[in-house]
């Protein structure tokens, strides 16, 4: 009876809701007789306030419109709802939800979704929206159902408590509602349901484990987008409940959920659609909790048939016997049928994990192969034993037909190289890739060899021989090969030792001819040997005389490749360098600290003394940076800062200030130049160093502000008339304002500084005249304290070296004028920030002899990332010009483009696309950060 009562109550409740709706229906917006959309657009543009716009909308709603333009109208509504207060539009739109057209309904639901996401804190609205969505879920149009599910996914909540609070609304289990649509008849709706479920997960709601079974059924859906989404969902659930136990159908065994999911996803690697295959292969990589025996199955096609279930020892023994039932196809006749096997044991299809990677790596589509290699990489990184096992497969991938796949597998191998040791036959295959015509592949392989462990001395020899072959075939690889040999040598000193006599072709009795010192191949051999000798003290004994001489030469000329050696009886060489390397680090750090601390006493010195101190310190820092590459970044950074300060002091020292009245003279060159230079330097500090933190940014901006103040004062002093001054003053004050807003959190650190004082006087400044402002600024600049620049932990200066063109060639690059010639540019970039957007950062510039400059933005694909903090730019610059009579040089250099708004911390109120007049914050510019290279070119007139 109680149940019956409840039902009655529920019925009554539903009736109430219906009545509500009827009420609303009386003031229904009739969009069914629509009007021209363009008119609405204009109307809405005219609207100044939300209330106005709403009025327009309401007017519009009563006007007749043609049926075709309904969609356009709705779109305009969507565009404009941003400008309106969301709640109002919600109220306006809500009643019209009982429209006839499915398309309009879907669009409106879309609007509601946007509104809902805009008001995350308003529970009541969300509840109502969810309600609306639930109501329309039964719509006949797939579009409407799609949108409803999307709405549910984005707004539906699981928190029952909240739902109960909202009176009259039944607690809805969003997951269950969405789950019901997993079996919708339209595949698009099924996909949307899964996506909505994933959305719920993304919003942090915990999905029920029951979904797992539902999702598993969807894996055999007819439509690829459903399967693809289902794979994702299974993955999500497996990450949520990795340890729960699920039964295996058709047996009474149980298994961890993550293992089961792994098997299922593995099975999808042989799906019919390559989109699903890619998806599955990708997800496999992130399933690290999977048990190791499942993982290892993925590499074995045959074993896999059984490992799905745990077996008793007896069964396993039988299996060993029966595993011979499938032939490997390597030997004739081993597939001859033997006696009947207990067929219950073998299961080819269900036990998906078996050989998943074997399939994935052999897939027809290279996209799948790449995904599989990536997944292998991730799994191998987390499991050393798996790394060992997948090595063979990875090595085989080095022979893939598609370059991207080869490259990817080489990179993968590099990432897992600390877990593995290459066997000789594997090394053989690996080294064969050195013949590849693609430069990327060869260089990736060199990188790989840098960090590979080789097991035998034959392996080392083989690698050396192949690298030398590579060197003769592609001489441009010289640097990369040398570097590779450096690491190869230092990693395997004991393996190199027995090879030394052979490599140096020394003979126990006879002196052999001295090899040519300029031969790149010989240098390569020496690099290998010297690096091995570093940790192998017995090796130098095997050197012949000329080897020592060559060592001395190489140590000087290629110091980055040749380490310092402790050579017996060669005190001269050894004592000069070797001890310093190890022990100097600490003192230099100390020295840096001391010299910087010295600067803090700057305040108490007279201007002259301060200048001198700064000059000394800058000199010291620069020298230190040259000596100690590890500290170069810090030293340079601080030196730049000090230079700014020095310039500022110098500028303020000028005589010009002593004259009370404005001079209107051009004499203040020094001051204005100083201001300009300080500005430049501050941009460099801000954008050319990686690892700059917020603390430093504040100081840098502060310095820039000072420079601007200086500029203002100088302008005030040197220009006649007040009109330009007004503008400048205003701009400056605005900037101060911005500074205050952006760095409000850091202001306490800026005690006693220029800004601190400035802000104190801000009210006064705002009201006073420009001349007065200038005066105040001037005194403040003089009084302001020097700010201590806190040193960041890790700071590196961005630098770039253009490797190619080398700029030494005397042969001009000839081309027909008016046509285009491609110039290969190869450069390494170090510590360039934001590798994803490097495109925007680097700009190549070609400076023609006639002063014409051309900026080229390299494509994103031209950047390679061979290591952390390092980038490689390999691109082609297209040059063209009209005819010249003689060959001439053009300059090529790399520039760092910056956008000053990039570093500014985002303020909450600045979000939402509010465009404010950001005078200061949007300066874009470029900083040259590589040495220019000159290329000799010769455009010839076209022959007729």
């Amino acid at each position: 009876m109680a149940a019956h009562l409840k039902k009655r109550v529920y019925e009554e409740f539903t009736k109430v809701v219906q009545q509500q709706q009827e009420e609303i229906a009386t003031k229904k917006l009739r969009l069914t007789k629509p009007s021209k959309s363009a008119a609405l657009h204009i109307d809405l543009c005219k609207a100044t306030s939300p209330a106005d716009a709403l009025q327009y909308l309401l007017q519009f709603a009563r006007k007749p419109v043609e049926a075709e333009s309904v969609e356009g109208v709705v779109r305009i509504l969507l565009e404009h709802y941003y400008k309106l207060s969301p709640f109002e539009i919600f109220q306006a739109n809500f009643p019209s939800l009982s429209l006839e057209s499915h398309q309009v309904l879907a669009q409106l639901l879309d609007t509601l979704l946007a509104i809902g996401t805009k008001l995350p804190e308003n529970q009541a609205i969300q509840m109502r929206l969810v309600d609306v969505a639930c109501k329309h879920l039964t719509d006949t149009s797939h579009g409407v159902r799609n949108k409803c599910l999307q709405l549910l996914g984005n707004l539906g909540s699981l928190e029952k408590s909240v739902t109960k609070d909202a009176e009259g609304l039944a607690a809805r289990d969003v997951q269950k509602i969405i789950g019901d649509y997993f079996s919708d008849q339209d595949p698009r709706v099924r996909t949307a349901a899964i996506k909505a479920m994933l959305q719920l997960h993304e919003r942090g709601l915990k999905l029920h484990q029951t979904i797992y079974n539902q999702a598993c059924k969807l894996l055999s859906d007819d439509y690829e987008q459903v399967r693809s989404a289902a794979v994702q969902l299974i993955w999500v659930v497996s990450q949520l409940y990795p340890e729960s136990i699920v039964p295996i159908p058709s047996s009474n065994e149980e298994i961890r959920l993550v293992d089961d999911a792994f098997g299922k996803i593995c099975h999808m690697v042989s799906d019919g659609s390559w989109v699903v295959r890619v998806q599955a292969a990708k997800l496999l990589g992130s399933m690290e909790q999977v048990s190791s025996h499942f993982l290892e199955q993925t590499l074995d096609k045959k074993l896999m048939s059984d490992l799905r279930r745990k077996r008793t020892a007896h069964e396993r023994a039988k299996e060993l016997y029966s595993s011979g039932e499938f032939s490997s196809g390597r030997k004739w006749g081993d597939d001859a049928p033997k006696e009947e096997v207990d067929t219950g044991a073998v299961n080819l299809i269900e036990s998906g994990a078996c050989g998943a990677f074997v399939h994935g790596l052999e897939d027809e589509m290279y996209e799948v192969r790449i995904a599989a290699v990536e997944a292998l990489c991730m799994l191998a990184q987390s499991s050393p034993s798996f790394a060992e096992k997948c090595l063979d497969f990875l090595v085989d991938m080095f022979n893939d037909e598609i370059e991207e796949v080869r490259l990817q597998s080489i990179h993968t191998m590099r990432k897992i190289s600390n877990n593995i040791t290459l066997r000789e036959d594997q090394l053989d295959t690996v080294l064969a890739v050195l013949e590849d015509s693609s430069r990327d592949i060869r260089e990736a392989l060199h990188e790989l060899l840098c960090c590979t462990n080789v097991s035998t001395k034959e392996g080392i020899h083989l690698a050396l021989v192949e690298l030398l072959k590579n060197l003769t075939k592609y001489p441009t690889d010289r640097d990369s090969i040398w570097k590779c040999l450096k690491f190869l040598g230092s990693r395997h000193p004991t393996l190199v030792l027995p090879l030394v006599p052979e490599l140096l072709s020394t003979h126990p009795f006879f002196d052999t001819a001295e090899p040519d010192m300029d031969d790149p191949a010989y240098i390569a051999v020496l690099v290998l040997i010297f690096n091995a000798a570093k940790t192998c003290p017995t090796m130098p004994a095997l050197f012949s005389d000329h080897t020592f001489r060559h060592y001395a030469y190489l140590r000087d000329s290629l110091s980055h490749l040749v380490p310092a050696l402790r050579l017996p009886g060669r005190k001269l060489v050894s004592s000069a360098v070797s001890p310093s390397i190890i022990s100097q680090e600490d003192p230099s750090q100390q020295f840096l600290q001391q010299s910087l601390e010295r600067v803090y006493s700057l305040q108490h010195l007279d201007p002259q003394g301060a200048q001198e101190l700064l000059e000394f310190t800058i000199r010291d820092l620069q020298r230190l940076g040259e000596l100690q590459s590890e500290l170069a970044g810090v030293a340079d950074f601080s030196a730049t800062y000090l230079r700014c300060q020095l310039l500022l002091i110098k500028a303020l020292q000028e005589k010009l200030w002593n004259v009370a009245a404005p001079l209107y003279l051009k004499q203040s060159d020094l001051a204005s130049a100083a201001a300009k230079q300080i500005m430049e330097e501050t941009y460099k500090m801000e954008f050319m160093y990686s690892g700059v933190e917020n603390k430093q940014v504040v100081i840098i901006h502060h310095m820039r502000l000072q420079a601007k103040a200086l500029q203002l004062i100088v302008t005030a002093r040197t220009t006649r008339g007040l009109d330009p001054l007004f503008g400048m003053c205003e701009k400056f004050l605005q900037e101060v304002d911005f500074f205050q807003r952006y760095f409000i959190a850091d202001l306490p650190h800026l005690q006693d500084s220029f800004v601190d004082k400035l802000l104190d006087l801000m009210p006064r400044l705002m009201t006073s005249k420009p001349a007065e402002v200038v005066k105040i600024l001037q005194t403040m600049l003089r009084q302001s304290a020097f700010l201590h620049l806190p040193l960041p932990e890790q700071i590196h200066k961005a630098s770039a070296t253009i490797i190619e063109p080398a700029g030494e060639s005397d042969n001009p690059l000839r081309f027909t004028s008016g046509l285009v010639v491609a110039l290969d540019v190869d450069a390494t970039l170090e510590h360039v920030q934001d590798p994803q957007n490097t495109v925007k950062v680097q700009v190549c510039r070609v400076l023609y002899p006639d002063g014409q400059a051309q900026m080229i933005h390299p494509k994103p694909a031209d950047f390679r990332n061979p290591g952390p903090g390092r980038h490689r730019l390999i691109t082609q610059v297209y040059l063209s010009h009209t005819a010249w009579t003689e060959a001439c040089q053009v300059e090529v250099r790399l520039l760092l483009a910056y956008n000053s708004s990039a570093r500014i911390p985002k303020c909450p109120w600045m979000e939402g696309g509010e465009v404010s007049p950001q005078v200061e914050t949007n300066i874009e510019g470029t900083i040259p950060f590589s040495k220019p290279v000159k290329v000799y070119i010769m455009p010839k007139p076209a022959r007729r």
Binding site: H4, T138, T140, S183, D184, Q185, D222, S270, G272, K301, K302, E325, F326, S327, S328, G329, R330, K331, W332, G333, D335, A336, P337, T343, V346, N347, L348, I349, E350, G355, V358, H359, L361, E362, D363, E364, M365, Y366, D392, F393, D396, M397, N399, E401, I402, T429, A432
Partner: protein
């Protein structure tokens, strides 16, 4: 009962001379028309007299479909069409159409010119036969006639190989021909959509094999060649000539820096390579992507082989056709080199029983050649499965992709088929057949018959209940009208109107005797409250005249005059409410619960 009948004339529990007859919904289709490599007598061609003893074959067959150009799939075609006589359409893909005549001509030459056979088809016959060919594109649905349609799917295997779907109405059969589920160096993998045919006829050459990864095999192969060459031996690699130097060759070229000369036997291969260049869209992703920059089928390091080279000293590597050593250059080379234990022959593919290849692979060391001479085989014989057939896993995968109702295995050895059959039935729960040659398999089908439903009826049903759920059957009342061989489902009122019939009502009545001494009204009240509590989902009403209705079922309580102790409940319901009515009576027969008076 409609059915699909399948009779293999060749390739039933055997490899070679593929030829399968399929009758589906009254249409007869012949799939492939091949020859057998193992025989040189009448057995090499399928027995076409099975189809008809006298009369033209054209009258019995609606069309012939050739899956690809291998001779065991098309070798008997000129014989069949010109000598036996068939004038209907022959369907094959464009590459097959281009390459097939070359192979047939070659086959004819060997048979007639070398072996001196009489009564063989002539060049002109090949030409005439090819005139009857209709070329199809992949995924193109071709209407053979009004009802029969065929559609080709990519099959990998060789250039132009295709799987065919044969469809009549809602019944369909898929024939795979030979196919490959893993891509090789220049061809992609077979692919089919979830077409859910009634029957999938699949090859099963490698029914018991699960191959190693192809890269493992490549490695192995390279190692073997390397070792032999280093020993100073000669390597003969038998290749199926038409596969553009074969898989193995491509590997060898791509990866080895062999210092020894590499030759390949001229003729077929050159032509075949030419066709690979022509039909780039049929190749795999890699070639499709790169053929603009670099043509994979240009070989710089390979020289054409001359018969005289076989006697040259020193190591060499020769690719020779045909692959099973049953004739031609590969057999000649094999004869010359067989005596030296340093040499090696590599068989990269499957060998049909009866060929030299099969003999040496099964370990025979003394071969009887033509002319009674005995050849002692001392050279190493290696087998390396590079042939482009699907392995067991691949076959299962394809079956899984197509989701057929049943599977029929052809083109494989009986024992191996047995094993696969078992697996398929067990794991995919799909019935599986493996008929021998001449044996007929009959599959009953249940073709679906489309029925038109009147909109009024549909709308009425929709209004009553929820939306129709996918894949869930739902009960619907209506009248099926069969008129002029079409079917319509209309509401019963409309049916009555159309047919000019009057409506009859069928009502069931039933008496239920209950022991009760109370009065009728009281009785009715009790029945009412009882039913009300039991049937919560139904509308139970107590009418003022003392009767109780449940939906349209009427229950009246009456007191028979003779016995005051029993009451009779009269239950009456219409035919439409039969289910509820019978439930009610059985419920009432159990008696009313003892009321707490």
């Amino acid at each position: 009962m409609p059915e699909i009948r399948v009779t293999p004339l060749g390739a039933g529990q055997d490899v070679g001379r593929s030829c399968i007859l399929v009758s589906i919904a009254g249409k007869n289709v012949m799939l492939d028309c091949g020859m057998h490599m193992g025989f040189n007598d009448d057995r090499r061609f399928p027995d076409f007299s099975y189809i008809t003893q006298n009369g033209r074959l054209t009258d019995f067959l609606d069309c012939v479909i050739i899956s690809h150009f291998h001779l065991d799939h098309c070798g008997a075609l000129p014989y069949f069409s010109e000598m036996v006589g068939y004038d209907g359409p022959i369907y094959m893909t464009h590459p097959t159409q281009a390459i097939c005549p070359i192979l047939l001509e070659d086959y004819r030459k060997i048979a007639v010119d070398k072996k001196g056979e009489a009564n063989f088809f002539t060049s002109q016959m090949i030409k005439d036969c090819m005139k009857k060919v209709v070329a199809v594109h992949l995924h193109q649905t071709v209407q053979v006639d009004d009802e029969l349609e065929i559609k080709a799917y990519y099959a990998g295997h060789v250039l132009g190989a295709a799987m065919f779907q044969i469809k009549v109405g809602s019944e369909s059969v898929v024939y795979t021909g030979d196919y490959n589920m893993t891509p090789d160096r220049h061809l992609g993998a077979a692919w089919i959509d979830k077409c859910r045919p009634n029957l999938l006829i699949t090859e099963s050459t490698y029914a018991t094999t699960i191959r190693d990864s192809k890269r493992c095999r490549e490695r192995d192969f390279l190692k073997k060649v390397h070792e032999t060459v280093e020993r100073g031996g000669k390597v003969a690699i038998a290749v199926v000539g038409t596969r553009a130097l074969g898989y193995a060759g491509r590997v060898l070229l791509a990866r080895m820096n062999l210092k020894v000369p590499i030759y390949f036997s001229t003729g077929l291969t050159e032509k075949a390579n030419h066709y690979y260049k022509l039909f780039i869209p049929w190749t795999n992703q890699k070639i499709r992507k790169t053929f603009v920059q670099r043509n994979m089928f240009e070989f710089k390091h390979i020289k054409a082989f001359d018969r005289a080279f076989a006697d040259n000293p020193g190591p060499m590597v020769v690719f020779a056709t045909p692959g099973m050593l049953h004739a031609g250059q590969s057999l000649q080379i094999f004869r010359k080199w067989a005596g030296n234990e340093k040499n090696m022959v590599i068989m990269p593919g499957y060998c049909v029983q009866g060929t030299v290849g099969h003999k040496i692979l099964s370990g025979q060391r003394k071969l009887e050649m033509e002319g009674r001479q005995v050849l002692e085989v001392k050279m190493q014989v290696e087998y390396m499965s590079f042939s482009a057939h699907a392995d067991a896993k691949g076959i299962m995968q394809l079956v899984g992709q197509a989701e057929p109702e049943s599977v029929l295995l052809v083109h494989g050895e009986a024992k191996k088929m047995e094993f696969l059959k078992q697996k398929i039935e067990q794991e995919l729960r799909v019935s599986c057949y493996m008929p021998a040659n001449g044996e007929t398999v009959t599959l009953p089908t249940s073709p679906s018959i489309p029925v038109g439903i009147s909109l009024g009826l549909l709308k009425r049903e929709m209004a009553q209940g929820l939306l129709p759920e996918a894949k869930k059957p739902r009960l619907l009342h209506g009248t099926l009208i069969m008129k002029d061989s079409n079917f319509r489902l209309v509401s019963s009122e409309q049916a009555l109107k159309e047919l000019g019939l009057a409506e009859h009502q069928l009502r069931f009545t039933c008496r239920v005797h209950l022991h009760d001494t109370r009065k009728e009204q009281e009785m009715a009240l009790r029945v009412y409250s009882h039913l009300k509590s039991v049937l919560k989902d139904h509308c139970v009403q107590h009418l003022p005249d003392g009767s109780v209705t449940v939906e349209s079922i009427l229950i009246q309580a009456a007191a028979p005059s003779e016995d005051p102790g029993t009451k009779v409940l009269l239950v009456s319901w219409t035919y439409q409410d039969e289910e509820l009515g019978s439930f009610l009576t059985s419920l009432l027969k159990k008696g009313l619960p003892q009321a707490p008076s």
